[in-house]
């Protein structure tokens, strides 16, 4: 094959010296894909947050007054604060797990990952407890509709996250990831931090506002 020399303008960018070209191409695609997926997930939560704000602003009293004439109670902030600390703690342990992996400290990685899974499951347990004690119902009022739908969606995301982290742990155990190729772990971390950030908004909306 004759070697045609192309004096190319600025725009021709290559990484052909890179032996892992295909891997990196795929990693970049997937990373962009995950980020865009999280963006669309933010829109989904935003819609229900908008619905909550809209319904809340369309009545004079909040918590709303039922047809029976009594005002619904506010949510128990103290317990939610405790539960929030559990979830935010899991964000910190996830961060430490990722840092340990980057420093090729596998035992520490597994310790932090298991801590994250336990904290995540603990948050879910706490939410189940709150659901069982709260006095409003899903179909009973707009407040219940917004609360159970939003926290339920978030809880579902946490549940998916916990399962995701368990799979990542098993994969890491099986040697799927190496010191330089660990995209799955990056994706898991991104997702987990996303779930944390969503909770900040929900905590403010339901417990502090």
């Amino acid at each position: 094959m004759a070697t045609t020399i192309i004096s190319s303008p600025d725009a021709v960018r290559f990484r052909y010296d890179d032996v892992d070209h295909a891997y990196h191409e795929q990693r970049e695609n997937r990373l962009t894909g995950i980020v865009l997926f999280l963006v669309s997930d933010v829109v989904l939560f935003s819609m229900f947050i908008f619905a909550y704000c809209y319904l809340r602003s369309s009545v004079p009293n909040w918590p709303p007054i039922t047809q029976g004439g009594h005002q619904l109670p506010r949510f128990d902030t103290a317990f939610a604060e405790f539960n929030s600390i559990v979830l935010f703690g899991s964000g910190a342990t996830m961060h430490f797990a990722m840092e340990s992996w980057k420093h090729t400290n596998r035992p520490a990685f597994f310790r932090w990952l298991i801590a994250t899974i336990i904290l995540g499951a603990g948050f879910l347990g706490g939410q189940a407890y709150e659901y069982s004690t709260v006095s409003i119902t899903w179909a009973g009022s707009t407040m219940g509709a917004a609360f159970f739908t939003l926290t339920g969606m978030h809880g579902f995301h946490v549940l998916v996250g916990v399962i995701f982290l368990c799979i990542l742990g098993l994969q890491a155990q099986a040697g799927v990831y190496t010191g330089s190729k660990y995209f799955g772990l990056t994706a898991g971390t991104l997702y987990w931090h996303f779930v944390d950030v969503i909770w900040v908004a929900l905590f403010f909306l339901f417990y502090l506002w």
Binding site: M1, T3, T4, I5, I6, S7, S8, P9, A11, V12, R13, F14, Y16, H21, A22, E25, E28, N29, T32, G33, L36, F37, V39, S40, D41, V43, L44, S46, M47, F48, F50, A51, Y54, L55, S58, V59, P64, W138, A139, S141, T142, G144, A145, F148, T149
Partner: protein
């Protein structure tokens, strides 16, 4: 920076995946973006035939003021299903799924989309969603219009729940396709293809993918809430229980106004590709056309409430929505004038694709202008819910999206099938469609101005106020048959071409984007060697701005090759 083409091939050619084997892998659960594009096309056209037949039923019913063929309840179901199917099962899958899938990866010199498996999943959700939607006829079709305003949708027949599920599913499919296309365009352009060298159809697909990815999720949220309210009684929209019907309108239109741009922006892209090829002139204002697509996509998120001027909005809130809506006229006007300037002084070749593109310029501009007029609050308060609105948006959807779709079919069919469509039949298709479209929807404007309400099964009272009402409805109904004839002719043309069409060769139109440098139909890997792009694809008097092409085509495509192809085709 200098690179040798030997170095380029290293690490590129060996990434061609093995050819798919067996019927199932090749044609059913294929992960090839081209086959998925064909699947979208066939499924979408099938639904087009069903939704089009529903439209003919509507037109038949309106032949008489008291209603010609069906009960009021049946009519409600028919127009609801017509609108729903046309928007979600026909136009959006055809312009994003079929055109986007087939053309966009070829235009950016990629072997496939970023996530082929996800692409397959997106497609297979589509026929399932369509089947669920049409199954709602069996249990009582939804009857609150394609917008399904609460609280009517809360009290609607059981089919409304199926409607929810179907649209939710097709929404997931749209979101995934949008995400897939975004990543593909951002990450998988071939070397040298900078953002400002991307073909305009790819720009349009990118802008559409952005809306698809961001806005469709909003619809999913709205539908999920409607589903929960209908099935579990969770109060969101029912005013009797503290909910708000206007909330549904906000959530619905936050998606459904951008959805209008999902339907039209790919057609803009098609027109931007077709016009320069058949005018043998560089596209006028490349960057302005590209950026105005993005401007429309982004501004489109801030106009949704112009559908709700009569829903009890605060007047101070109506004003910004009115102004932003009118602002969209600016990027759209930039496009129209750029296209006209592209034609100006060009050597026009009236192939069928070109006819549809020029017909698009007329009908879309008309629909766009009535859109700016409707955006004005005082006008909207008068026209809202009348046939004026029906006329307006059919000029945009049928005169814009469908015209663009037909232009794309006549333009890219030779690439997809390797055979030419018959140009004589194509010209008949165009003129039938063009006259049919204008005859059907033009009278609706003054019917609406005189006060004929949309969505009514009868117009006895209106005919008393405005005696020529029946005459114009008969004109509209008769003209709609011309459109049906045009679509039938297209169907025959495609079948005939598949059996005994003339082979098209690599580049029948003398076009210059990358898909015209590979064989027709393209091989499963698209490009054996990934091409290198050195410039814009629209400079017709310069050599092709590509290196490393699979077929040596570096010479200038002859300016008269398009007219030759056309003359040969019509001979």
């Amino acid at each position: 920076m200098t690179v040798s083409s030997d170095a380029l091939q290293h690490g590129v050619e060996d990434h061609i995946h093995p050819a798919p084997e067996g019927f199932i892998r090749k044609y059913v659960f294929s992960i090839d973006h081209k086959v998925i594009g064909f699947q979208y096309f066939i499924t979408g056209m099938l639904f087009f035939a069903i939704a089009g037949s529903l439209a003919e039923l509507i037109r038949l019913q309106l032949l008489k003021p008291e209603g010609a063929i069906m009960s009021n309840q049946a009519y409600n179901g028919v127009y609801t299903m017509h609108g729903t199917a046309m928007v979600w099962m026909v136009i959006i899958p055809l312009v994003t799924g079929a055109l986007g899938n087939f053309i966009m990866p070829l235009q950016i010199g990629a072997r496939d989309v970023a996530f082929p498996w996800l692409n397959m999943l997106s497609f297979w959700i589509f026929p399932v969603a369509g089947a669920i939607l049409f199954a709602s006829f069996l249990v009582g079709a939804p009857n609150a219009g394609w917008t399904e305003y609460a609280p009517i949708s809360l009290q609607g027949p059981p089919g409304t729940t199926l409607w929810c599920v179907a649209i939710f599913l097709i929404g997931i499919s749209s979101t995934l396709t949008g995400l897939n296309f975004m990543v593909t365009v951002i990450k998988m352009r071939c070397p040298g293809m900078t953002w400002t060298r991307m073909p305009l159809f790819t720009w349009a697909t990118f802008a559409t993918a952005l809306i698809n990815m961001v806005a469709t999720v909003a619809l999913s949220g709205a539908l999920a809430a409607l589903f929960m309210e209908r099935v579990f009684g969770v109060p969101f929209y029912d005013p009797a229980r503290g909910g708000s019907p206007v909330l549904w309108q906000h959530m619905f239109w936050f998606y459904s106004h951008p959805a209008v741009y999902i339907m039209i922006i790919p057609a803009f892209g098609v027109i931007s590709e077709v016009l320069p090829v058949f005018a043998r002139k560089p596209i006028f204002g490349y960057k302005m056309i590209a950026f105005s697509s993005m401007a429309i996509a982004i501004l489109g998120f801030a106009v949704w409430a112009h559908h709700m001027f009569t829903s009890g909005m605060a007047p101070w809130l109506q004003l910004p929505f009115m102004i932003v809506t009118m602002l969209i006229g600016i990027p759209t006007g930039i496009k129209i004038f750029s296209w006209v300037a592209t034609l100006w002084g060009g050597r026009l070749h009236f192939s069928t694709a070109m006819l549809f593109a020029m017909g698009f310029l007329i009908t879309f501009t008309f629909g766009g202008i009535t859109g700016v007029y409707l955006a004005a609050v005082p006008a909207d308060l008068h026209e809202h819910g009348t046939y004026f609105v029906v006329g307006h948006f059919h000029y945009v959807v049928a005169g814009g999206s469908v015209m663009g779709l037909l232009a794309a079919i006549f333009f890219w069919f030779p690439k997809a099938a390797g055979r030419m469509l018959d140009e004589r039949m194509g010209h008949w298709t165009f003129w039938l469609f063009f006259f049919g479209l204008n005859g059907t929807f033009f009278p609706m404007h003054w019917l609406g101005l005189f006060g004929m309400p949309r969505r009514y099964a009868t117009y006895v009272e209106f005919a008393k106020i405005y005696p020529p009402a029946q005459l114009w409805n008969i004109v509209a109904s008769a003209s709609s048959l011309l459109m049906a004839a045009a679509m039938l002719l297209l169907f025959i043309n495609i079948l005939r071409s598949l059996v005994r069409g003339r082979p098209s060769g690599i580049n029948p139109w003398g076009a210059r984007t990358l898909e015209w440098t590979i064989s027709s139909p393209p091989p499963y890997y698209n490009f054996k060697r990934i091409p290198i792009v050195l410039g814009l694809p629209y400079c017709f008097d310069e050599p092709l701005p590509y290196r490393n092409l699979d077929n040596e085509q570096d010479e200038i495509p002859k300016p008269h090759s398009a007219s030759q192809a056309w003359m040969e085709a019509t001979a």
